[in-house]
Each structure stands twice: as structure tokens, then as C-alpha cells.
């Protein structure tokens, strides 16, 4: 560890930076009011506890600026088993989350064009293009991303990540851990879990070497415990939407899910979601809905369209349509019960084999069918994401099944989660409007 780096880290992040961010949050919380152009005529004000989402993310990226040379840094895929790294004290960066942030700030296109200029095809996932573009050009809206010392790639979301992380490994010349998760058609076989468990065990040695210390088992258990707690709270927040009107829309969830992805395993994340849950319960008590005049309730399938969240949320709310459930935000809560604090590695192996994208299309259909019933939905919007093939495959049939077997309106909406070139404003509007007219 470089002493200069350490001093800079302590001063710029631990003391001045953190303090400033916390002060700002306190002020924002105290004088809380919706942003100027917030459509208070159709939407409830944003959640007050949302100021903490901003705080957590701001701190996370600020720490990233100064962390090199102080803590080991790992870049990981969104479905990666991070608990071991967390217990070893790694600073963990999620390129997909950073990609989403670029999308929401509307700079993803400019950054992915940097990758395209170097020959990366426009047909590659837009997260991968955004990340490779950011790596090559150093462009980022968060100031600076720390270089990785280790890469952790888990194939439980797609195969794209495998090639993407190989590119990163070659570029940064750092070790790459690949956790290969067999696809689950119905139930995972015993040997599937065993296979993943062995890989996790083998990864410990590599991670320890990079971290320069050995793994404490009790620390690992603690991280798993906190991870599980945060995920359970998140699940409860989502389930609160079974109430009518739904207290928080899925578009809100897209924003407030950042900590459960990026800061899973931290005590602050648990505190944060428990505060948020309190506020949501308060809303339920007072009969406040995310959409003011909730007439219809629908679900969202697939990734968000990051650069159009506000537009979509308002367009639907204008017509009293509230998006109350989503397979996407659900993915970070549904596996919480599988985590077992007493058997961390084994339960991690199981948990990380079962994400929705690593399972057959029938499972996703079942998830949506359950949502339709439990959340009492009138329709479903299936975002067909040009980038994300594993999420989009099967949607044609899933849409028809929802329509014919459950009798809810179902719409396939073609776009891309991070590439605005695949979003045709007028077409999307006309399809959404027709979908809403159909539900009336």
C-alpha cells in the first residue's frame, strides 16, 4: 500500500468527501421537496428516503476515485458471488451498474461509440459496449473508475460476460475468475451445485492472493447474513406493491435497487432498506399511491430502458397506469431465502445457480403468472431488449400465454436498455397508447 495513496484516500474520501456528501443528504432530507419539474399532478412525490440512495451511490463512486492502492479492486458481473470478495475487503465495482448510470445520465451512447470506433460491433450488449468504451476512453460521468486488480465473471446471466471479461483481462492484465453456472431447466442437479461450489472454493485462493490476506470464515458469514437481510428487505419493499394503490412504482424501484446490487453485504444497505420500508408502510397507511389515479396495474419484464425511465413513467401515469411489479427488480430479492448463514459457500453455490436468467423460459412465465395473480394485474409490458438475448428469448410465447391463459393485455415493446438508437419515440408511444386503450 502506497502511503501517499492512503493519505489521499483518507482525506479526500473518508474525511472531506464523505462528510460533504452526508451533509448534503441531511440538508436534502430536511428540506425535502420534489424536483422542480416533477409531475405532482400525476405522481406521488419521490420517496424521501431516496436521498439516501443518492448518498450511497455518490459515496461508492467517490471511494472508487481514491481507492486504488488502498484496497484491492474487483470488477464483477451483476450476478457474481461477491460475498467472498467482500469479506476480503475488496472495493467492488459493477460495470453493468456503471453502464446503467451512464444510460440514465444519457451518456451511454457517446461512451459506447468509443468502443464501436475500435471495432466492437453494435450487436454486442450495450452494457458491454458502454463498459469497454469507458475503459478505452476513460469517459465516465462519475469522474474516474478505479482499475481492477481482479475480475470476477459469473455466467449465470449470459455468455456475453465471458467474452467481455476476457477483453478486460487482456486489457488490464489482471487475473480473471470465471464461475461457470450450469443452466437450470427445472431443478438444479446435485452435481451442478457441487460443481459451482468447487469453483467458489477454488476462487478463494486467487482472491486471497490478490487481496494479500486470508479469508476469515466468520467475516464471510457476516457478509452473507447482511446480504440476506438486505435482499429480504428488498423483497418486502417489492411485495408492498400488492397493496392498492401501489406505494412505489417499478420505475422508482429501478432507481432504488442500486444499493442492493452494488452494496449488498454492507450494514448501511440493510439500514437504508429498512428506512425505506418504513416510509413505504407509512404511504400504505395513508393510502398514497405512486401513481395518483391508479386505474390499471401492470408488470414490466426485462431490463429498464435507462434513458427513458422518466418519460415512460409519466406517459403511463398520465393514463392512470401504474407499473407495480417486475421480473427484473424481483431478481435481487427472490433468491434471498436460499442464503444460509451457517453454510455460506454451499448456499452461495445454490443461490447463484438460480437467477432468472439461468433458468428456463417456463420459469419466467411462471414468475409472471404468479405476479399477475398476487399483484392483481391488468396487463404486462414485455420489453424486448435488443441487447439482452437471454432475457428476451421466449417473450413471444410468454406474451401469448399471458394473454390467452390469464386474459391480461400483454405488449411486446422493442427497444434497448442502454442504446437510444433502438428506441423509436413515436412507435413506442403509439404501441403503449393502444395497449392502454386495450385495457380500458
Amino acid at each position: 500500500m502506497d502511503v501517499k495513496d492512503k493519505i489521499k484516500y483518507i482525506f479526500s474520501y473518508k474525511i472531506a468527501g464523505k462528510l460533504l456528501i452526508e451533509l448534503n443528504t441531511k440538508k436534502a432530507f430536511k428540506n425535502f421537496k420534489p424536483p422542480k419539474n416533477w409531475r405532482t399532478d400525476i405522481l406521488a412525490p419521490p420517496l424521501r428516503t431516496g436521498v439516501y440512495t443518492k448518498e450511497i451511490i455518490a459515496k461508492h463512486y467517490l471511494e472508487g476515485r481514491y481507492v486504488s492502492g488502498v484496497k484491492p479492486v474487483a470488477w464483477v458481473t451483476s450476478g457474481a458471488p461477491i460475498e467472498i470478495l467482500k469479506a476480503l475487503g475488496f472495493y467492488i465495482l459493477y460495470p453493468e451498474n456503471h453502464g446503467a448510470l451512464c444510460g440514465a445520465r444519457k451518456v451511454a451512447l457517446e461512451i459506447s461509440e468509443e468502443a464501436e470506433k475500435k471495432g466492437y460491433s453494435i450487436d454486442i450488449c450495450s452494457y458491454a459496449r458502454t463498459d469497454i468504451g469507458a475503459t478505452l476512453s476513460k469517459k465516465t460521468p462519475v469522474g474516474k473508475l478505479p482499475k481492477p486488480d481482479l475480475l470476477l465473471c459469473c455466467t449465470n446471466i449470459c455468455q456475453t460476460v465471458l467474452y467481455w471479461y476476457r477483453v478486460l483481462a487482456e486489457y488490464y492484465k489482471v487475473p480473471l475468475i470465471v464461475i461457470d453456472t450450469p443452466f437450470v431447466y427445472d431443478e438444479a442437479k446435485k452435481h451442478d451445485i457441487e460443481y459451482v461450489k468447487k469453483q467458489l472454493e477454488a476462487s478463494i485462493e486467487v482472491s486471497e492472493k490478490v487481496a494479500g490476506k486470508s479469508l476469515s470464515f466468520s467475516k464471510l458469514k457476516e457478509v452473507v447474513r447482511l446480504s440476506k437481510m438486505a435482499a429480504e428487505l428488498w423483497l418486502e419493499i417489492m411485495n408492498a406493491n400488492k397493496n392498492k394503490p401501489a406505494p412505489i412504482s417499478v420505475f422508482d424501484q429501478f432507481i432504488h435497487m442500486a444499493p442492493i446490487v452494488e452494496k449488498r453485504g454492507d450494514p448501511e444497505t440493510v439500514d437504508f432498506y429498512s428506512k425505506m420500508l418504513d416510509e413505504i408502510r407509512e404511504r400504505i397507511k395513508n393510502g398514497i399511491g405512486a401513481v395518483k389515479n391508479e386505474r390499471k396495474r401492470v408488470l414490466w419484464d426485462n431490463l429498464p430502458i435507462w434513458y427513458k425511465i422518466r418519460f415512460l413513467s409519466e406517459f403511463l401515469a398520465e393514463n392512470g397506469v401504474s407499473v407495480v411489479a417486475s421480473t427484473y427488480t424481483n431478481a435481487w430479492g427472490e433468491l434471498a431465502p436460499m442464503m444460509d448463514i451457517e453454510r455460506p459457500i454451499e448456499s452461495m453455490a445454490k443461490t447463484y445457480v438460480y437467477p432468472i436468467l439461468n433458468r428456463g423460459t417456463g420459469h419466467k412465465l411462471k414468475t409472471m403468472e404468479t405476479m399477475v395473480k398476487e399483484f392483481d394485474l391488468d396487463g404486462a409490458i414485455l420489453h424486448s431488449d435488443r441487447s439482452c438475448k437471454p432475457y428476451s428469448v421466449g417473450q413471444m410465447d410468454q406474451r401469448l400465454k399471458l394473454l390467452n391463459e390469464l386474459g391480461v393485455a400483454a405488449l411486446l415493446l422493442e427497444a434497448d436498455h442502454n442504446d437510444p438508437r433502438a428506441f423509436a419515440d413515436e412507435q413506442i408511444k403509439s404501441r403503449l397508447k393502444a395497449f392502454m386503450e386495450m385495457m380500458d
Binding site: L400, A424, Q427, K433, A434, E437
Partner: protein, 255 residues
């Protein structure tokens, strides 16, 4: 002067359609024009001209189509709902409505009582729309109307494998330069377009009868091939282009 109760305006990507109805929903007039880039001015001009023969002072105006945002109207409704309404009231039956327009295709499943059960539109791609034929017609310098005739009278057919409007055009040229007969190639082009449409129909699930609308419904070769592919004779309104505007006008009646 006859009183027009309601006017439907369908401002599509290639044509502007305006229909007026009386209180019984009977069509009093229908106008179809190529769309001007300034559709708001065009609409105003047409409406002003109508005032010479009709009393439209108190008419309800319902607009639909891509240009509808630019038009002053009492209500704006999507093409899906308008087409479904127009077709259902015209034929008085549910089934599968297929509208093949200049840049947009829609397939709408209509229930027995006229409700939209499901719909699908072509996304971000003009394949299978009127443009698909127009492009090639223009390139070959053949009037679009003549294309259908050539296809109908052709004694053979060349397979066009590309469904992309741009690639199909170059495929056509390459077939011709290899000495294939013009009418065989044109017939193949129609087939490619029809296959694209039938695949959309299958995507929502075909439920007879088949009811056609949109400008391309006037193309006899397309109609015949659709019948061949689906084994069902399509029903076609007298003026297939105005179904959306007709539906819009009918929606205005209940305002």
C-alpha cells in the same frame, strides 16, 4: 347542407384520410390524399374546402395516425383502436383485421363484441409494408399499380429470400441481371411481402374471418396470395384505405 356529426382524421405516414359521418354513422364523404409534410396545414385546407358543401361547425373531430399530434381534435385515439372500430362496424363481425399501410402494418384480433383482444405492429422495419413494393417499383420505373398486374399474370415465380426492403431491392436487381423474367421476380417479391404479413398474423394467432384494410389491400396479387397462404378468402371493404378514419369518426359519435 348536410350536417356532419363527426369527422375522423387518419394522418398516416404516406396518406391523409378524412371521413365524415352523420349521427347514424353513415359515411357522408371520404377523402384520401398523399400526406404533406405539414399535415396540420393540409388538414385545415381540406376542412375549409369541405365547408362549402357540408355543415361541419359542430362536428366532433377525432384524430389518429402518426400526424395526429399536430392536428387540432376533440380526441386522439390510436390507429389500433380506430381500425378495429372501423372494421368491426363495417363488417359487423370479430376476427383478424390486417391493415397494410405505407410504412406500418397492423394485425388486430377483434372479439365477437368488437373489443381489441390483441394486436401487433411491425417494429422499426418497413419490411412487408407498402414501401417494400414501392421501393422496387420506383427502382424499376414501373408504376406501383402495374406491379400487381405483372405478378398476377406471371406463369412462374422466383424466390426472394430477403425480407428487408432494402436488401430485397438489390436481390431483385441481381435476379434480373441474371436473366430472370421480370414478372417472375415481381411475383416472388409479392410472395416475400405476403409471407412477412402472414408471420405477423401467426404471431398473434389467426382467427378467421380475415379482414383487410389499408392501401395495399387494393393490390390484387397480395390479396390472392394471402388467400393462398392462409386458406381463407379475405373480406375487403369498398374503400380499404379509410377504415381508420371511419373508425375515428365513429368514436367521435360517442363523445
Amino acid at each position: 347542407m348536410e350536417t356532419v356529426k363527426s369527422i375522423g382524421i387518419d394522418a398516416g405516414s404516406t396518406t391523409l384520410k378524412i371521413v365524415g359521418v352523420n349521427e347514424k354513422g353513415k359515411i357522408l364523404f371520404s377523402i384520401v390524399e398523399d400526406a404533406d409534410p405539414k399535415v396540420e396545414e393540409q388538414t385545415e385546407r381540406v376542412l375549409n374546402k369541405l365547408k362549402e358543401n357540408y355543415d361541419i361547425e359542430s362536428s366532433k373531430i377525432v384524430a389518429t395516425g402518426y400526424g395526429s399530434n399536430l392536428i387540432k381534435a376533440d380526441k386522439k385515439v390510436t390507429e389500433i383502436t380506430c381500425h378495429a372500430k372501423g372494421i368491426y362496424e363495417y363488417f359487423k363481425t370479430g376476427g383478424t383485421a390486417v391493415d397494410i399501410g405505407g410504412q406500418d402494418n397492423k394485425v388486430i384480433l377483434i372479439s365477437k363484441n368488437g373489443k381489441v383482444i390483441d394486436f401487433i405492429m411491425n417494429d422499426k422495419c418497413a419490411s412487408g409494408t407498402g414501401r417494400f413494393l414501392e421501393n422496387t417499383a420506383w427502382r424499376l420505373k414501373i408504376p406501383t399499380e402495374k406491379m400487381a398486374e405483372l405478378a398476377l399474370n406471371s406463369d412462374g415465380e422466383v424466390k426472394i429470400s430477403s425480407t428487408c426492403a432494402v436488401f430485397a431491392e438489390s436481390e431483385v436487381i441481381s435476379h434480373l441481371s441474371r436473366g430472370q423474367k421480370l414478372e417472375h421476380v415481381i411475383k416472388g417479391l409479392h410472395r416475400a411481402m405476403v409471407k412477412r404479413i402472414t408471420s405477423m398474423i401467426y404471431a398473434v394467432g389467426f382467427n378467421p374471418p380475415l379482414m383487410l384494410s389499408g392501401g395495399v389491400a387494393k393490390n390484387k396479387a397480395v390479396v390472392k396470395m394471402l388467400e393462398e397462404e392462409l386458406g381463407e378468402k379475405p373480406m375487403i371493404p369498398e374503400n380499404p384505405q379509410i377504415m381508420g378514419a371511419f373508425g375515428a369518426a365513429l368514436i367521435g359519435l360517442s363523445q
